[in-house]
Protein backbone atom coordinates (compact mmCIF):
# COMPACT_ATOMS: atom_id res chain seq x y z
CA UNK A 1 0.00 0.00 0.00
CA UNK A 2 1.31 3.45 -0.81
CA UNK A 3 1.98 5.73 2.15
CA UNK A 4 -0.53 8.49 2.86
CA UNK A 5 0.56 11.52 0.90
CA UNK A 6 -0.38 14.20 3.42
CA UNK A 7 2.26 13.66 6.04
CA UNK A 8 5.24 15.95 6.61
CA UNK A 9 7.57 13.31 5.21
CA UNK A 10 5.69 12.96 1.98
CA UNK A 11 4.53 16.52 1.65
CA UNK A 12 7.51 17.24 -0.55
CA UNK A 13 6.02 20.25 -2.28
CA UNK A 14 5.55 22.22 0.93
CA UNK A 15 7.64 25.33 1.46
CA UNK A 16 9.70 25.75 4.66
CA UNK A 17 6.90 27.56 6.48
CA UNK A 18 4.27 24.97 5.57
CA UNK A 19 6.66 22.17 6.56
CA UNK A 20 7.10 23.83 9.92
CA UNK A 21 3.32 23.92 10.35
CA UNK A 22 3.02 20.24 9.47
CA UNK A 23 5.58 19.48 12.16
CA UNK A 24 3.68 21.70 14.61
CA UNK A 25 0.44 19.80 13.99
CA UNK A 26 2.32 16.52 14.44
CA UNK A 27 2.91 17.64 18.04
CA UNK A 28 -0.83 17.61 18.79
CA UNK A 29 -2.27 14.35 20.08
CA UNK A 30 -5.83 13.36 19.38
CA UNK A 31 -7.78 13.98 22.63
CA UNK A 32 -9.10 10.43 22.73
CA UNK A 33 -6.25 8.30 21.38
CA UNK A 34 -2.47 8.44 21.84
CA UNK A 35 -1.71 9.36 18.24
CA UNK A 36 -0.97 12.76 16.73
CA UNK A 37 -3.30 14.47 14.27
CA UNK A 38 -0.93 14.07 11.31
CA UNK A 39 -0.25 10.37 11.87
CA UNK A 40 -3.97 9.85 12.38
CA UNK A 41 -4.44 11.25 8.87
CA UNK A 42 -6.84 14.05 9.78
CA UNK A 43 -4.87 16.82 8.08
CA UNK A 44 -5.51 17.04 4.34
CA UNK A 45 -3.56 20.15 3.53
CA UNK A 46 -1.93 23.32 4.84
CA UNK A 47 -1.30 26.53 2.94
CA UNK A 48 -0.16 29.94 4.11
CA UNK A 49 -1.07 33.25 2.60
CA UNK A 50 0.13 36.51 4.15
CA UNK A 51 0.20 35.23 7.75
CA UNK A 52 -3.04 33.28 7.41
CA UNK A 53 -2.68 29.52 7.75
CA UNK A 54 -5.46 27.57 6.07
CA UNK A 55 -5.83 23.99 7.22
CA UNK A 56 -7.99 21.46 5.45
CA UNK A 57 -8.94 18.70 7.82
CA UNK A 58 -11.44 16.00 8.52
CA UNK A 59 -12.55 13.94 11.52
CA UNK A 60 -12.75 10.20 11.93
CA UNK A 61 -16.55 10.50 12.26
CA UNK A 62 -19.05 13.26 11.56
CA UNK A 63 -20.16 12.97 15.17
CA UNK A 64 -16.61 13.20 16.51
CA UNK A 65 -17.00 14.30 20.14
CA UNK A 66 -13.51 15.77 20.18
CA UNK A 67 -13.90 18.06 17.16
CA UNK A 68 -14.08 21.25 19.26
CA UNK A 69 -10.95 20.32 21.18
CA UNK A 70 -9.05 19.38 18.03
CA UNK A 71 -9.92 22.67 16.32
CA UNK A 72 -9.00 24.69 19.41
CA UNK A 73 -5.68 22.82 19.71
CA UNK A 74 -4.82 23.46 16.06
CA UNK A 75 -5.61 27.17 16.36
CA UNK A 76 -3.59 27.58 19.54
CA UNK A 77 -0.58 25.66 18.23
CA UNK A 78 -0.41 27.38 14.83
CA UNK A 79 -0.87 30.85 16.30
CA UNK A 80 2.21 30.15 18.42
CA UNK A 81 4.30 29.84 15.23
CA UNK A 82 6.20 32.98 14.16
CA UNK A 83 4.63 34.47 11.07
CA UNK A 84 1.13 33.11 11.69
CA UNK A 85 -1.48 35.66 12.69
CA UNK A 86 -4.64 33.94 11.62
CA UNK A 87 -5.84 30.37 11.28
CA UNK A 88 -8.63 29.27 8.99
CA UNK A 89 -10.04 25.77 9.37
CA UNK A 90 -11.79 24.12 6.49
CA UNK A 91 -13.58 20.91 7.55
CA UNK A 92 -14.01 18.51 4.65
CA UNK A 93 -15.73 15.12 4.42
CA UNK A 94 -14.60 14.16 0.93
CA UNK A 95 -12.54 12.09 0.77
CA UNK A 96 -13.90 10.56 3.97
CA UNK A 97 -11.47 9.44 6.65
CA UNK A 98 -10.76 5.71 6.79
CA UNK A 99 -8.06 3.81 8.63
CA UNK A 100 -6.13 3.74 5.32
CA UNK A 101 -5.20 7.38 6.04
CA UNK A 102 -3.11 6.39 9.07
CA UNK A 103 0.64 6.64 8.63
CA UNK A 104 2.74 3.61 9.55
CA UNK A 105 3.62 5.31 12.85
CA UNK A 106 -0.03 6.08 13.52
CA UNK A 107 -1.01 2.52 12.83
CA UNK A 108 1.67 1.26 15.19
CA UNK A 109 0.63 3.70 17.95
CA UNK A 110 -3.00 2.59 17.76
CA UNK A 111 -2.09 -1.08 17.68
CA UNK A 112 0.08 -0.64 20.75
CA UNK A 113 -2.90 1.01 22.43
CA UNK A 114 -5.11 -1.96 21.65
CA UNK A 115 -7.04 -0.86 18.55
CA UNK A 116 -6.98 -3.23 15.62
CA UNK A 117 -6.28 -1.10 12.56
Amino acid sequence: MSPPIFSPLFHAGAGPLESRLWSALAEIDDPEMPVNLVDLGLIYGISVDRGCAAVRLTFTAMGCPASDMIMADIRERLLAEPGIEEVRLDIVWDPPWTSARLTADGREALRAWGLSV
Partner: protein
Protein backbone atom coordinates in the same frame (compact mmCIF):
# COMPACT_ATOMS: atom_id res chain seq x y z
CA UNK B 1 -11.56 -20.13 62.52
CA UNK B 2 -9.65 -18.54 59.65
CA UNK B 3 -10.84 -19.50 56.14
CA UNK B 4 -8.68 -22.14 54.46
CA UNK B 5 -6.92 -19.79 52.03
CA UNK B 6 -6.41 -16.90 54.42
CA UNK B 7 -2.68 -17.48 54.76
CA UNK B 8 -2.26 -18.08 51.02
CA UNK B 9 -4.09 -14.84 50.21
CA UNK B 10 -2.04 -12.89 52.69
CA UNK B 11 1.17 -14.27 51.20
CA UNK B 12 0.03 -13.50 47.67
CA UNK B 13 -0.83 -9.90 48.61
CA UNK B 14 2.52 -9.49 50.35
CA UNK B 15 4.34 -10.65 47.23
CA UNK B 16 2.51 -7.95 45.29
CA UNK B 17 0.78 -10.49 43.06
CA UNK B 18 -2.74 -10.33 41.70
CA UNK B 19 -5.85 -12.20 42.73
CA UNK B 20 -7.42 -13.73 39.64
CA UNK B 21 -10.31 -15.89 40.84
CA UNK B 22 -12.72 -16.34 43.72
CA UNK B 23 -10.94 -19.55 44.69
CA UNK B 24 -8.04 -17.41 45.91
CA UNK B 25 -10.23 -15.08 47.98
CA UNK B 26 -11.38 -15.20 51.57
CA UNK B 27 -15.06 -14.32 52.19
CA UNK B 28 -13.85 -11.07 53.73
CA UNK B 29 -11.74 -10.13 50.69
CA UNK B 30 -14.67 -10.93 48.39
CA UNK B 31 -16.99 -8.72 50.45
CA UNK B 32 -14.57 -5.79 50.40
CA UNK B 33 -13.91 -6.21 46.69
CA UNK B 34 -17.63 -6.26 45.91
CA UNK B 35 -18.19 -3.16 48.02
CA UNK B 36 -15.39 -1.30 46.25
CA UNK B 37 -16.72 -2.35 42.84
CA UNK B 38 -20.25 -1.34 43.78
CA UNK B 39 -19.19 2.16 44.81
CA UNK B 40 -17.26 2.50 41.55
CA UNK B 41 -20.09 1.15 39.37
CA UNK B 42 -22.73 3.26 41.12
CA UNK B 43 -20.59 6.39 40.78
CA UNK B 44 -20.04 5.91 37.05
CA UNK B 45 -23.69 5.00 36.49
CA UNK B 46 -25.20 7.94 38.36
CA UNK B 47 -22.89 10.38 36.61
CA UNK B 48 -24.77 9.54 33.38
CA UNK B 49 -28.16 11.00 34.40
CA UNK B 50 -26.42 13.75 36.40
CA UNK B 51 -24.40 14.84 33.36
CA UNK B 52 -27.28 14.25 30.95
CA UNK B 53 -29.60 16.63 32.80
CA UNK B 54 -26.93 19.34 32.44
CA UNK B 55 -25.67 18.43 28.93
CA UNK B 56 -29.10 19.43 27.60
CA UNK B 57 -27.94 23.00 28.21
CA UNK B 58 -24.94 22.64 25.89
CA UNK B 59 -24.09 25.88 24.07
CA UNK B 60 -23.47 24.26 20.66
CA UNK B 61 -24.05 21.05 18.74
CA UNK B 62 -20.36 20.15 19.03
CA UNK B 63 -20.41 20.75 22.77
CA UNK B 64 -23.53 18.60 23.10
CA UNK B 65 -21.82 15.79 21.19
CA UNK B 66 -18.89 15.97 23.58
CA UNK B 67 -21.25 15.86 26.57
CA UNK B 68 -23.10 12.85 25.19
CA UNK B 69 -19.83 11.05 24.40
CA UNK B 70 -18.73 11.54 27.99
CA UNK B 71 -22.02 10.08 29.21
CA UNK B 72 -21.52 7.10 26.91
CA UNK B 73 -18.05 6.57 28.41
CA UNK B 74 -19.42 6.72 31.95
CA UNK B 75 -22.06 4.10 31.17
CA UNK B 76 -19.38 1.83 29.72
CA UNK B 77 -17.22 2.30 32.82
CA UNK B 78 -20.19 1.45 35.03
CA UNK B 79 -20.74 -1.65 32.94
CA UNK B 80 -17.18 -2.85 33.61
CA UNK B 81 -17.74 -2.72 37.37
CA UNK B 82 -21.21 -4.33 37.27
CA UNK B 83 -19.99 -6.99 34.85
CA UNK B 84 -17.25 -8.01 37.28
CA UNK B 85 -19.80 -8.00 40.10
CA UNK B 86 -21.92 -10.37 38.06
CA UNK B 87 -18.94 -12.67 37.61
CA UNK B 88 -18.55 -12.57 41.37
CA UNK B 89 -22.10 -13.80 41.83
CA UNK B 90 -24.23 -10.64 41.96
CA UNK B 91 -27.15 -9.91 39.65
CA UNK B 92 -26.41 -6.92 37.45
CA UNK B 93 -30.11 -6.50 36.76
CA UNK B 94 -30.99 -6.41 40.44
CA UNK B 95 -28.16 -4.00 41.21
CA UNK B 96 -29.07 -1.49 38.52
CA UNK B 97 -32.82 -1.77 38.14
CA UNK B 98 -34.22 -3.13 41.36
CA UNK B 99 -32.43 -1.28 44.09
CA UNK B 100 -33.98 1.48 46.11
CA UNK B 101 -32.50 4.88 45.10
CA UNK B 102 -31.19 5.38 48.63
CA UNK B 103 -29.27 2.09 48.44
CA UNK B 104 -26.95 3.38 45.71
CA UNK B 105 -23.43 4.02 46.98
CA UNK B 106 -22.16 6.96 44.93
CA UNK B 107 -20.71 10.18 46.36
CA UNK B 108 -23.23 12.66 47.72
CA UNK B 109 -21.98 15.35 45.30
CA UNK B 110 -23.97 13.83 42.43
CA UNK B 111 -27.22 14.30 44.37
CA UNK B 112 -26.89 18.06 44.10
CA UNK B 113 -28.32 19.04 40.71
CA UNK B 114 -25.98 20.08 37.90
CA UNK B 115 -28.17 22.63 36.18
CA UNK B 116 -26.09 24.33 33.52
CA UNK B 117 -23.31 23.73 31.02
CA UNK B 118 -21.00 25.62 33.36
CA UNK B 119 -21.80 23.27 36.24
CA UNK B 120 -21.29 20.28 33.94
CA UNK B 121 -17.81 21.37 32.86
CA UNK B 122 -16.83 22.14 36.45
CA UNK B 123 -17.98 18.60 37.29
CA UNK B 124 -15.76 17.33 34.47
CA UNK B 125 -12.85 19.32 35.89
CA UNK B 126 -13.39 18.41 39.56
CA UNK B 127 -15.60 15.31 39.93
CA UNK B 128 -13.92 13.47 37.06
CA UNK B 129 -10.56 14.46 38.56
CA UNK B 130 -11.68 12.82 41.82
CA UNK B 131 -12.70 9.71 39.88
CA UNK B 132 -9.35 9.83 38.11
CA UNK B 133 -7.44 9.88 41.43
CA UNK B 134 -9.51 7.03 42.91
CA UNK B 135 -9.49 4.82 39.82
CA UNK B 136 -5.86 5.63 39.07
CA UNK B 137 -4.99 4.38 42.54
CA UNK B 138 -6.93 1.14 41.97
CA UNK B 139 -5.36 0.77 38.55
CA UNK B 140 -1.88 1.24 39.99
CA UNK B 141 -2.13 -0.60 43.30
CA UNK B 142 -5.23 -2.80 43.04
CA UNK B 143 -4.86 -6.48 43.79
CA UNK B 144 -7.74 -7.82 41.70
CA UNK B 145 -6.41 -8.61 38.21
CA UNK B 146 -9.58 -8.49 36.09
CA UNK B 147 -10.52 -5.03 37.38
CA UNK B 148 -6.99 -3.66 37.12
CA UNK B 149 -6.84 -4.64 33.44
CA UNK B 150 -10.30 -3.22 32.74
CA UNK B 151 -9.15 0.14 34.07
CA UNK B 152 -6.43 0.72 31.47
CA UNK B 153 -8.86 2.11 28.96
CA UNK B 154 -11.07 3.72 31.59
CA UNK B 155 -8.16 5.94 32.61
CA UNK B 156 -7.56 7.03 29.00
CA UNK B 157 -11.21 7.95 28.59
CA UNK B 158 -11.42 9.81 31.88
CA UNK B 159 -8.58 11.97 30.57
CA UNK B 160 -10.88 13.15 27.80
CA UNK B 161 -13.50 14.20 30.36
CA UNK B 162 -10.91 16.14 32.33
CA UNK B 163 -9.84 17.91 29.18
CA UNK B 164 -13.38 18.91 28.39
CA UNK B 165 -13.72 20.28 31.91
CA UNK B 166 -10.47 22.19 31.80
CA UNK B 167 -10.82 23.55 28.27
CA UNK B 168 -14.30 24.85 28.91
CA UNK B 169 -13.51 26.21 32.38
CA UNK B 170 -10.65 28.18 30.86
CA UNK B 171 -12.82 29.37 28.01
CA UNK B 172 -15.61 30.50 30.34
CA UNK B 173 -13.14 32.25 32.61
CA UNK B 174 -11.63 34.10 29.64
CA UNK B 175 -15.11 35.17 28.53
CA UNK B 176 -15.35 37.18 31.76
CA UNK B 177 -18.42 39.03 33.02
CA UNK B 178 -21.51 37.03 34.00
CA UNK B 179 -20.13 33.83 32.50
CA UNK B 180 -17.08 33.98 34.71
CA UNK B 181 -19.16 34.84 37.80
CA UNK B 182 -21.29 31.77 37.14
CA UNK B 183 -18.13 29.67 36.88
CA UNK B 184 -16.85 31.00 40.20
CA UNK B 185 -20.21 30.27 41.87
CA UNK B 186 -20.16 26.69 40.55
CA UNK B 187 -16.63 26.16 41.86
CA UNK B 188 -17.64 27.69 45.22
CA UNK B 189 -20.19 24.97 45.95
CA UNK B 190 -18.64 22.08 44.05
CA UNK B 191 -15.09 22.35 45.39
CA UNK B 192 -15.91 21.50 49.04
CA UNK B 193 -18.26 18.72 47.87
CA UNK B 194 -15.37 17.10 46.01
CA UNK B 195 -12.98 17.56 48.93
CA UNK B 196 -15.55 15.67 51.03
CA UNK B 197 -15.80 12.93 48.35
CA UNK B 198 -12.61 11.25 49.63
CA UNK B 199 -14.23 10.47 52.96
CA UNK B 200 -13.18 10.59 56.58
CA UNK B 201 -9.75 12.03 57.32
CA UNK B 202 -7.10 9.45 58.16
CA UNK B 203 -6.98 10.39 61.85
CA UNK B 204 -10.63 9.37 62.22
CA UNK B 205 -10.38 6.28 60.06
CA UNK B 206 -8.24 3.94 62.10
CA UNK B 207 -8.35 0.88 59.95
CA UNK B 208 -9.05 0.19 56.29
CA UNK B 209 -9.69 -3.34 55.05
CA UNK B 210 -9.43 -1.91 51.51
CA UNK B 211 -5.81 -0.98 52.20
CA UNK B 212 -5.09 -4.33 53.89
CA UNK B 213 -6.36 -6.13 50.83
CA UNK B 214 -4.67 -3.71 48.44
CA UNK B 215 -8.05 -2.88 46.91
CA UNK B 216 -6.64 0.63 47.06
CA UNK B 217 -3.12 1.81 47.70
CA UNK B 218 -3.49 5.33 49.05
CA UNK B 219 -5.31 6.60 52.12
CA UNK B 220 -8.24 9.04 52.01
CA UNK B 221 -6.01 11.97 52.90
CA UNK B 222 -3.34 11.00 50.37
CA UNK B 223 -5.97 10.83 47.62
CA UNK B 224 -7.49 14.13 48.76
CA UNK B 225 -4.05 15.75 48.61
CA UNK B 226 -3.47 14.32 45.15
CA UNK B 227 -6.76 15.85 43.99
CA UNK B 228 -5.97 19.22 45.58
CA UNK B 229 -2.52 19.23 43.98
CA UNK B 230 -4.07 19.15 40.51
CA UNK B 231 -7.28 21.15 40.96
CA UNK B 232 -5.97 24.07 43.05
CA UNK B 233 -3.13 25.06 40.66
CA UNK B 234 -5.41 24.63 37.66
CA UNK B 235 -8.19 26.83 39.04
CA UNK B 236 -5.65 29.45 40.12
CA UNK B 237 -4.09 29.37 36.64
CA UNK B 238 -7.40 30.38 35.07
CA UNK B 239 -8.05 33.06 37.67
CA UNK B 240 -10.70 31.21 39.68
CA UNK B 241 -10.50 31.29 43.46
CA UNK B 242 -10.57 28.13 45.54
CA UNK B 243 -10.66 27.85 49.35
CA UNK B 244 -7.31 26.06 49.72
CA UNK B 245 -3.65 26.96 49.45
CA UNK B 246 -0.28 25.31 49.34
CA UNK B 247 1.68 25.06 52.56
CA UNK B 248 4.95 23.15 52.61
CA UNK B 249 4.54 19.91 50.71
CA UNK B 250 0.78 19.78 50.90
CA UNK B 251 -2.43 21.72 50.55
CA UNK B 252 -4.40 23.24 53.39
CA UNK B 253 -8.10 24.04 53.32
CA UNK B 254 -9.13 27.61 54.15
CA UNK B 255 -12.38 26.56 55.83
CA UNK B 256 -13.40 24.25 58.65
CA UNK B 257 -13.58 20.69 57.39
CA UNK B 258 -16.27 19.48 57.60
CA UNK B 259 -18.88 22.23 57.75
CA UNK B 260 -22.58 22.58 56.99
CA UNK B 261 -24.01 22.56 53.49
CA UNK B 262 -27.42 23.65 52.27
CA UNK B 263 -28.03 21.50 49.19
CA UNK B 264 -31.12 23.40 48.03
CA UNK B 265 -29.27 26.71 48.10
CA UNK B 266 -25.96 25.12 47.01
CA UNK B 267 -24.34 27.02 49.83
CA UNK B 268 -21.60 26.17 52.34
CA UNK B 269 -21.56 27.88 55.67
CA UNK B 270 -17.85 28.19 56.45
CA UNK B 271 -18.80 29.79 59.78
CA UNK B 272 -20.63 26.67 60.88
CA UNK B 273 -18.29 23.69 61.36
CA UNK B 274 -20.00 20.36 61.92
CA UNK B 275 -19.12 16.83 62.96
CA UNK B 276 -18.42 13.93 60.62
CA UNK B 277 -21.48 12.26 62.13
CA UNK B 278 -23.57 15.09 60.72
CA UNK B 279 -21.92 14.65 57.30
CA UNK B 280 -22.52 10.88 57.34
CA UNK B 281 -26.16 11.56 58.27
CA UNK B 282 -26.52 13.93 55.29
CA UNK B 283 -24.90 11.36 52.98
CA UNK B 284 -27.17 8.53 54.18
CA UNK B 285 -30.31 10.64 53.71
CA UNK B 286 -29.09 11.30 50.12
CA UNK B 287 -29.58 14.64 48.36
CA UNK B 288 -32.21 16.42 46.27
CA UNK B 289 -31.74 14.63 42.94
CA UNK B 290 -31.18 11.03 44.08
CA UNK B 291 -34.66 9.62 43.34
CA UNK B 292 -35.10 11.55 40.08
CA UNK B 293 -31.80 10.31 38.65
CA UNK B 294 -32.31 6.68 39.60
CA UNK B 295 -35.83 6.83 38.15
CA UNK B 296 -34.34 8.02 34.84
CA UNK B 297 -32.74 4.66 34.21
CA UNK B 298 -35.11 2.44 36.22
CA UNK B 299 -38.56 3.60 35.13
CA UNK B 300 -38.82 1.88 31.76
CA UNK B 301 -37.11 -1.34 32.74
CA UNK B 302 -40.18 -3.35 33.77
CA UNK B 303 -42.29 -2.17 30.81
CA UNK B 304 -40.67 -4.50 28.32
CA UNK B 305 -40.10 -7.57 30.43
CA UNK B 306 -41.63 -10.72 29.01
CA UNK B 307 -43.98 -12.14 31.62
CA UNK B 308 -43.59 -15.81 32.33
Amino acid sequence: MEPANSAALEALLKRGELVESTSEMTPDYLRELKHTLLVSGDTELISAPAYYLAARKAPSVNAFMTGIAIIQDELAHAHIAYHILEELGESQEALIFKRDPKAFRYPYAFDVPLESWTELVVANAMYDQAGFCLLGDIHEHGSYGPWKRGLVKVMAEENFHLRNGRNWSKRISLAGGDARDELQRAVDWMFPLTVEWFGLPDNLKQHSAQLDYRLKGLTNDQLRQQWLSTVVPFMESIGIQVPAHKEGDGYVLDYPFPCTFDADEKHWDFKDPCSWDAVLKRWRARGPRNAEMVALFQESFSKFQVRA
